[in-house]
Amino acid sequence: MDLEFGVQRRLALRNARAMCQLYFINRGLANSSPAVDLDLGGGWGKVGIPASAENPLGSQQEFRLKNLLSPGWDRGFTEDVLATVYHPVPYDTGGAEVQTSMRVQLKSRSPLLAGNLLILHHTLTNSGSIDATISGGVQVNGHATFWKDESFPGTVGNLKVESYDHSDIVSEAIGNLAGNHIPPTNYPFFRRTTGNDVVGATGVPITDGRFNMIQIGTAPALPPDPDAIYKKNTLHYKMTANSSPTVVDGNFDYTVGAVSGDELAGQRRITIDLNNPAVSPVIVNDGVFHIRFLGYMDSGQGDNEPPGFTIVRSSDLLSVTFENNNYRRLVVGLQSSTHRDVAVNFTNAVSWRLLLTSELTSTTWNVPSGSVVNLTGGIRTDSTVAVPSGLLILNRESSPNALELMDPRESWVEIYRN
């Protein structure tokens, strides 16, 4: 009996930690958390969590700050919460409990996942999971993380990475930059992503590796309350919070600042000139089939310009073309209501600063055969990334002021005995 009491005590402590962690991951984007008691019953785990007034994954939203998308209010440590674990007293029939205090540290930056340049999220649609793959010549001069479903192994092709991690069981080997197979840096970790989806008009937490970070709500209109907390940690909210966007659609046939519209083979094309200092956030809606970005070519001045923002919420988009090199930070979000493929083309381009987030949008990167294109930034997607020819290399920002641009969905909770 004493042995069983000992095991129960250990498991109850672990259960309390697990419930505590899950609770805060579910509330990673919440403004605050009320005081709660979580009781598994039967002496298998009970934890009391005090109220917290912090939003662990809140981000800086000042448009022209360099660290624009920094999570956790630009701090590594965000909030300490003292939770109380309750243990039943063995052989006591009166329900007596002893208490243990735990310190819960809510962080928004995972030290394990630092330096992520390629993140493949779990894809789940109304029609089920999508077998998103990485194929062709992709090289990651940094870390890669796969949150995808374990039911789709063997989908990374010839991917080369410096290091990688995987949730779930993985039965495939990934090569390092020299092409030799390397193991992940750690055991498979449980999914610890955070975020929100919308059911009806209410935000609900999603923590299973999916992400929904470009814009939450029924396209193209926002749900009634655009300031609802479940919408705040989206690219759309951040780029429009302090700046008026240029909204374009299939009827946009003008030139407004850095944005102009014309037709390509009878289909609407939007050109965004990153050399124009007046470039503002651009929202591209249905009716636009092609987007062309003209790169900012002054390699020494790129960091002095605010990042360019473009969000595409179009189910009509067919291609994105990058012309010339670009040394200005560019944040692009591709979102589609149904899964679709978009061609990414390069014209006279070998180096681009680009932070791409694509949701339900697979991308085929048409790197000229035998050529190399360097991206400085990263790719976060839940869909396929294909490079049928040439080599696409992902590099990390070298300037500390430009690091950590990738808006995260990984939450990090550490729990210690107090």
């Binding site: 095991v7 697990a18 419930m19 709660v36 979580l38 598994l40 298998w44």
Partner: protein
């Protein structure tokens, strides 16, 4: 005569009768038998304890691996199959249930977690009538 008498008396004081010897041996044998019986009981108890320790350790390890993410969320049977066997344990000795459970947060809302209960029925001795049941519950991260 005197010496013969002395000799007889001396023999009477330094010897034991057959009755005395049998009584002494009987007492000794009772003690030996009790010690032997206690030893057997201790060995049996030790065997039972060892089986219980192995079973509970096996059960705890299974749940811990499941808790850390191995196996599907549907059940923990995949992990169970990879664990070393236990004497007297077969598939009929396992009851696994994994449920998605709403926990009352005492604040009017509920909190959904993935809970697995693993009930292990194992043979604690070489006797099929000596089954013991151990039930454990874990929350998956």
């Amino acid at each position: 005569m005197q010496s013969l008498l002395s000799s007889t008396v001396h023999r009477n004081f330094n010897g034991y009768t057959i009755i005395e010897a049998m009584v002494a041996v009987s007492i000794l044998m009772i003690g030996v038998a009790a010690a032997a019986a206690l030893s057997m009981t201790m060995l049996t108890q030790e065997d039972i304890n060892a089986r219980a320790a192995r079973a509970i350790n096996w059960q705890e390890n299974t749940l811990r691996l499941y808790q850390l993410g191995l196996g599907t969320s549907a059940d923990v049977s995949e992990i169970v199959e990879t664990m070393p066997g236990l004497p007297g344990l077969d598939a009929s000795g396992l009851t696994i249930s994994t449920t998605s459970t709403d926990i009352d947060t005492s604040g009017g809302s509920t909190f959904n977690v993935d809970v697995s209960e693993l009930t292990l029925i194992y043979n604690s001795f070489d006797d099929t009538d000596q089954n013991r049941t151990s039930q454990m519950t874990v929350v998956r991260y």
